[in-house]
């Protein structure tokens, strides 16, 4: 059992950083014990803390849970930026002072393929209109005939 004077002296050396490991262990035991001199009571929490610190379970290694969502968020942001850039970058060059000339280079010269002879034009018109009108009616007629078959089978 350490005397209060010895404890006080050891404590002073402890704070000065001059104690040996064995002396520190003695000090620890003294302050964790029940008979601490009233004048030294104030130092008790310090050693209690070190003791608690030494016996506490090691903290779990930090889990890297955020890594994947963050990566995804970064990727999504990058994709979104790319999309934005894609929308904005291919902006057409400024319209020239001659917009008329510009549009004319683009449009097709249909007159090259124009049928001007009335008889030929009428033949083409006749055959295309026949195709179109036949096709337009094909689906409804098929549906109607199917419905008639169903209706007949119900009778």
């Amino acid at each position: 059992m350490m005397k209060p004077e010895t404890a006080k002296e050891l404590l002073e050396r402890y704070f000065a950083g001059e104690t040996s490991l064995a002396e520190e262990s003695e000090l620890r035991n003294y302050f964790l014990g029940e008979h601490v001199a009233p004048g030294l009571e104030q130092h008790r929490p310090l050693f209690a803390y070190w003791q608690a610190r030494a016996t506490a379970p090691k903290a779990l290694p930090r889990r890297r849970r955020r890594t994947l969502p963050r990566l995804l968020a970064v990727a999504a942001a990058a994709i979104a930026l790319l999309l934005t850039a894609n929308v904005w970058l291919p902006v057409k060059p400024a319209v020239s002072d001659f917009p008329l000339a510009e549009t004319q280079t683009k449009t097709i010269d249909w007159s090259k393929y124009e049928v001007t002879e009335p008889e030929a034009a009428l033949r083409i018109l006749h055959s295309t209109l026949k195709t179109v009108s036949t096709e337009i009616n094909r689906a409804p007629r098929a549906a109607a005939s199917q419905l008639r078959t169903v209706a007949n089978s119900l009778d």
């Binding site: 968020a73 999504a76 942001a77 979104a80 930026l81 999309l83 934005t84 929308v87 904005w88 291919p90 902006v91 057409k92 449009t107 097709i108 249909w110 007159s111 393929y113 124009e114 049928v115 001007t116 009335p118 008889e119 034009a121 009428l122 033949r123 083409i124 018109l125 006749h126 295309t128 209109l129 026949k130 195709t131 179109v132 009108s133 036949t134 096709e135 337009i136 009616n137 094909r138 689906a139 098929a142």
Partner: protein
């Protein structure tokens, strides 16, 4: 996450400038212009002005009587022009490609038909102020592929009635 939201907001708030481009009035000029110069395609254009000549010109076509001519003219009176492209090479490829090129926000599918002999027909319309201003047909068969574009005010009822007149 903040960046993501900001970028998305940017995307939503600023409509693509490319969408504001003006397009020609017919589908062939707008989406198939390179086919027009392609020598493997037959290209035909009939202007609406020629139709005016039919009445006075007294044209004799065997399979076309007076009544049928009148029926045709009733349909085409508001049509500005007909464009026609046809090829017998790589018909299947052209068919697949053409279907992907029609923008569904501008063209509405009117009908699609597939017959037993493998002919596919898809018809699209473009309308403005409740009037159809273009009828566009894609016709794909085993050995042939065709595109038809009617530009002008088109009355589908008249067009469907026309079949009866032409069948007589």
């Amino acid at each position: 996450m903040k960046y993501l939201i900001t970028s998305l907001l940017l995307l939503v708030l600023f409509p693509a400038p490319a969408a504001a481009q003006k397009v020609p009035t017919d589908a062939i000029s707008a989406f198939f212009s390179e086919y027009v110069d392609d020598p493997t395609f037959d290209v035909v254009y009939v202007s609406g002005k020629v139709f005016e000549l039919f009445r006075g010109a007294n044209i004799e076509i065997d399979e076309l009587g007076e009544e049928e001519l009148e029926a045709i003219l009733a349909v085409v009176q508001d049509i500005e022009g007909i464009r026609l492209l046809h090829t017998d090479r790589r018909a299947k490829d052209h068919w697949m490609e053409a279907k992907n090129r029609i923008p569904t926000d501008q063209y509405e599918l009117l009908f699609k038909v597939r017959t037993r002999d493998g002919t596919n027909v898809e018809a699209f319309i473009q309308d403005e102020n409740a009037a159809i201003n273009e009828l566009f047909l894609l016709v794909g068969a085993d050995q042939s592929f065709a595109m038809l574009s009617f530009v002008g005010v088109i009355d589908l009822k008249q067009l469907s009635k026309l079949q009866d007149a032409l069948d007589d």
